[in-house]
């Protein structure tokens, strides 16, 4: 058992490693006890409240003793379409515990959590680092019974005691779910040593030029040119530079990065090495969302193998000036950390709040140094470009979107999972591939994207110039309650807003109230008119992409499915809004009068 002194020493009492220190503390004690705070504060040059400022921001850091088994059930809309409620009820029944609490004996604690990147295998839940998928009430009965009998989550999932750094161990918990492979992803045929020499035989400038010429645009959602990002990063006087792999994949319904990390980890890492060489970085960091903790040992092993083979470390490929290594930074449960500047703040041991821009990370990113943050999929594409050439890549796809891309498909379809598609295929063709039956609406790019109508938009092309997509498709048929789905997404943004700016922190709450008002049958046309204006205000004045997109579920569903709103509206009769409850608003007055009357009748 390590004490706090040893944990701090391990990180040389570096304040910027606070996230790692907090994780080590939590793994040691099960939570972040108050007793460790004085020493932490002193050694890190902080106050205890500074430490609280950081840990209280993250969903998975806890400051009270937890139950022995803290269970987090993923509460996505997809899970809710696939038996979530029965699993929820079974968990409460079997553990004797209610959600949000611990049971009397302190064995079980139940909580819900946002999407854990398993929309093709929902319902799913996390217990510590382990993940359970495709849950049913029957499975819950078995799992809880075995936990009660003294088995650990690992014993149940991994009876053969496979090493935690093996792919077999991950496969024992999670399916890859690859449905269709194309020319780019999951080829697993790369000779990395040979490819490294091919890369470093070129001047870094040439590599950047290659990536620019390939037309590769970032796969995190914004679609910024990867080559340009690297160029901006290297056109800088500062010599210390960083490469970040954004593996935060928090967008509900998205799981492509999880599958890439599982099935093509070395392609991801090699893409980072290429980027490191191109921009002259010495360090790369993979920011891994804590929901993917089960991938950490496995990824560490891949890094270790690359080190042994001389692909990472000092004088890589015999080039004395090329020193580059990669570490993994664990997140702790905050969707906003998918924003690159929030992610950088988090990596520096702070709250994951997006920074004010400018400066941009390419000029002043991690530790104030030039930093290029790229998505997992972007790095795999880079590896392919290095192998097959820029022209090969550019010849696939459309004018604006080169190459192929991965889509995470879930919801009402026969074949949910990962699909590699060439940009430019139509939505209808995609739905057919996935075996969607009578699809009605598709949520493209997760809650931060558009809710579109298959009837109206089925012919549209999946490409940046038409139907832009960050890799997530959630399919809904006519049996689904879209208003309820919109409400769920809006609640998600209320929960996940970092709170630093007014429109996002407060405006999303107002929008959430509006959607509830519609669902409750108390809204009139004026409420919808206000939704449009308020939604626009939140989108335009928010500090980062979270507020910049959070009203989209409401706004796009209102635009594409006006009828589902219209049929819920009531007519405004007189000057008062239908949502105004005259009786309720006079309740205090009536209570006071009645109390006074009681008193006077008694006296």
């Amino acid at each position: 058992m390590r004490n706090i002194h040893e944990i701090l020493d391990h990180y040389r009492s570096d304040r910027t490693r606070l996230m790692d220190i907090l994780w080590d503390v939590q793994h040691q004690w099960g939570y972040i006890p108050n007793t460790v705070l004085p020493e932490m504060a002193e050694k890190l040059g902080l106050t205890e409240l500074d430490i609280k400022e950081t840990y209280s921001f993250y969903h998975f850091f806890i400051d009270k003793p937890p139950a022995k088994f803290q269970i987090y059930l993923s509460d996505t809309v997809i899970a809710k379409m696939q038996g979530y409620q029965a699993v929820y009820d079974a968990l409460e029944e079997e553990t004797g515990c209610v959600f949000g609490k611990k049971d009397a004996t302190n064995i079980f604690g139940l909580d819900t959590t946002s999407c854990i990147g398993l929309s093709d295998q929902e319902p799913a839940m996390l217990i510590g680092k382990e993940v359970f998928t495709r849950l049913t009430p029957e499975k819950i009965v078995q799992i809880i019974r075995r936990l009660k009998n003294g088995e650990s989550p690992a014993d149940i999932l991994n009876p053969e005691n496979l090493a935690s750094d093996s792919l077999a161990y991950i496969h024992a918990m999670v399916d890859s779910g690859i449905r269709s492979k194309g020319p780019l992803f999951f080829q697993n045929k790369t000779d990395f040593k040979a490819l490294l020499h091919k890369v470093i035989n070129n001047h870094p400038e040439v590599i950047i030029k290659n990536v620019s010429e390939s037309g590769l645009r970032g796969r995190g959602g914004a679609g910024f040119s990867t080559g340009l990002k690297w160029r901006l990063c290297s056109d800088n006087d500062q010599k210390t530079r960083f490469i970040i792999c954004n593996a935060d994949e928090g967008e509900p319904g998205t799981f492509k990065d999880r599958v890439l990390l599982m099935e093509s980890p070395k392609e991801v890492i090699f893409g980072m090495i290429t980027a490191g060489y191109a921009i002259g970085a010495q360090e790369g960091i993979i920011y891994l969302r804590s929901e993917y903790y089960y991938l950490k040992d496995y990824l560490e092993k891949q890094l270790a193998e690359f080190r042994t083979e001389g692909l990472l470390g000092k004088s890589i490929g015999g080039k004395t000036e090329f020193n580059f290594d990669i570490r993994i930074q664990m997140g702790a449960g905050a969707y906003i950390c998918g924003d690159e500047t929030a992610l950088i703040e988090s990596m520096e041991g702070k709250r994951g709040t997006p920074r004010v821009k400018p400066p941009y990370p390419v000029n002043a990113g991690y530790l104030g140094k030039p930093t290029s943050a790229n998505n997992v999929e972007t790095f795999v594409a880079v590896t392919s470009i290095m192998e097959e050439g820029a022209l090969w890549f550019k010849n696939m796809g459309t004018t604006e979107s080169a190459g192929t891309r991965l889509l995470s498909i879930s919801g009402d379809c026969d074949r949910p999972g990962i699909y590699e598609i060439e940009w430019g295929i139509t939505l209808n063709a995609m739905l057919e591939k996935a075996g969607a039956r009578m699809p009605w609406a598709v949520q493209v790019s997760g809650p931060s994207g558009d809710c579109i109508s298959v009837e109206k938009d089925g012919h549209r092309k999946i490409a940046l110039e038409d139907l832009s997509c960050n890799g997530s498709f959630m399919i809904f048929n006519r049996s689904r309650d879209l208003l309820d789905i919109v409400k769920h997404f809006t609640q998600f943004f209320v929960n996940e807003s970092c709170g630093i700016c007014v429109p996002c922190r407060s405006g999303n709450v107002d929008l959430f109230k509006k959607i509830n008002r519609v669902i409750d049958g108390k809204a009139c046309q004026r409420d919808l008119d206000e939704v449009v204006v308020w939604g626009k205000m939140v989108r335009k004045t928010s500090r980062c992409g979270l507020g910049g997109t959070s009203p989209k579920p409401i706004l796009t569903s209102l635009e594409n499915f006006p009828e589902i709103y219209q049929e819920k509206l009531v007519r405004q009769d007189g000057p008062l809004l239908p949502s105004f409850d005259l009786k309720e608003s006079r309740r205090g007055y009536l209570e006071a009068i009645s109390t006074l009357n009681d008193r006077s009748s008694q006296s």
Binding site: E53, C501, R543
Partner: protein
Amino acid sequence: MIQIKIDGKNINTRKGANLVDVALENGIYIPTLCYMKGEPCLGTCRVCSVKVGGATAAACTVPVAHGMEVEVNEPEVKDMRKALVESLFAEGTHNCPSCEKSGRCDLQAVGYEVEMMVSRFEYRFTPRKKDYASEKILLERDRCIFCQRCVEFVRDAETGQKIFSISGRGANSRIEINVELANKMSAEQITRAVDLCPVGTIIEKKIGFNDPIGKRKFDIKSIRERALEGDEK
């Protein structure tokens, strides 16, 4: 020197200067609640939102560049600024008539400035705990707008450590006070902290309602007039 245009007016200025400052130097007032001249931009309140090249941006986060076209009084963005102020009134609990800061409160003054009559958003009256623990400071969280001026600009004189911090996330975030460090604050430091709080959250105990109505800071001059005259206090 570079040229920019604000509401059609040509302005010569220096590259990289803050848009709020540049506008003010040229007689154009943009309301702010979190921005303080000379201090790093916080970009939290967004009340200075304007249109830059047609896109909405918080003016305090914008360094001016040659050829920039800025719209401050364009109706849509003007209404957004008003909505943001109204949003703050709905989110916290702001009982101006009973507040010690009334008449010297930036939020109240900006409310007048944007001609707010009532919030278009539903008032929430969220219960928030006051903090009396420090000897000289009362933390009245009902009025806090999370501008984070106190978090960023108030430090312990000796160690440079933060005296105010945040806990929680999103709508549940709140300002915390380090009692031990707060008790070491000098009288000047407390006055500064009270002054930089744009609302009545940081209140000096045993002091309040000093100036009678009619003689309070913003009774004498509006926030716009003060800003245009370069009077930051």
